[in-house]
């Protein structure tokens, strides 16, 4: 039994040219936990919606400036890892060949370095498991 699975994104409101998925670990949607936390806290939900729009647009091949959607480098993964940014919200995702974009999880501005390390590890675990 594998730990990781993909689910079609439950947060991107529209269908996109590149299909967007969310990563689940032991059937728990990692991004969903982040969204629930932001929703409960309340005041950053507006920024979360902006960041989700950035992911939707880029999955529709609409260009965005690097300060909104950038590639995270300096990792040894065989895929491209991206960060979508809106206000204090960060959303981390990667591109899987023949599948599409996979949202891993989200984070806040101040926790960026730790979050990126953790996201890279999760993606590595997911790829190793395949």
């Amino acid at each position: 039994m594998k730990n990781y699975s993909l689910i079609l994104s439950q947060h991107i409101p529209h269908k996109t040219k590149i299909v967007v998925y969310e990563l689940c670990k032991n059937n728990e949607n990692l991004f969903n936990s982040f969204v629930n936390k932001i929703e409960t806290d309340g005041n950053l939900f507006d920024s979360l919606a902006g960041a989700i729009r950035i992911i939707e647009d880029t999955a529709n091949l609409i260009l965005k400036p690097k300060n909104k959607f950038r590639e995270i480098r300096d990792h040894k993964l065989s895929c491209k890892v991206y960060e979508a940014k809106y206000g204090s919200i960060r959303i981390y995702l990667f591109h899987e060949q023949k599948t599409g974009r996979v949202i891993v999880t989200g984070g806040l501005k101040g926790d960026q370095d730790e979050d990126i390390k953790s996201v890279i590890k999760i993606i590595k675990d997911y790829q190793d498991e395949k």
């Binding site: 699975s5 993909l6 439950q10 529209h14 729009r53 260009l63």
Partner: protein, 122 residues
């Protein structure tokens, strides 16, 4: 109907503002590439300052008046289309598209029991 969280996302102004910003940014970049324009040439063409061009290209922040956005769109050979759609009508139509899309993309269900799941662990 869409799920509650998607509906809540669609009800945030930032979602739509980012869409308009992104669309105008994308249009301007493609126009610059097609017409081999640098930033100075673009500023002259759009009738805005170089600083404002840098603001758009570096940050993707448009922050112009509606009138200026329309002027810019026309100068990059686009007609700007705005539409106001009834929320319920929009959500229903969009949910139908999503349902068809989900059906065609779903491979199998997993224990999350979601129609959108394409779990590969089962």
């Amino acid at each position: 109907m869409k799920n509650k969280i998607q509906e809540k996302i669609l009800n945030q102004a930032s979602y739509w503002v980012e869409g308009i910003n992104g669309s105008l940014y994308d249009t301007i970049i493609k126009y610059m590439e097609t017409n081999n324009l640098n930033r100075t040439m673009l500023a002259n063409h759009l009738g805005i300052s170089k600083g404002r061009v840098s603001q758009i290209l570096n940050n993707g922040e448009i922050n112009f008046s509606l009138e200026k956005i329309i002027e810019i769109a026309l100068k990059v050979d686009k007609f700007p289309l705005f539409d106001f759609i009834d929320k319920q009508q929009y959500l229903q139509k969009d949910a139908e598209v999503t349902r068809v899309f989900t059906r065609s993309n779903s491979k199998m269900r997993c224990s999350t029991n979601s129609a959108r799941c394409v779990c590969r662990t089962s």
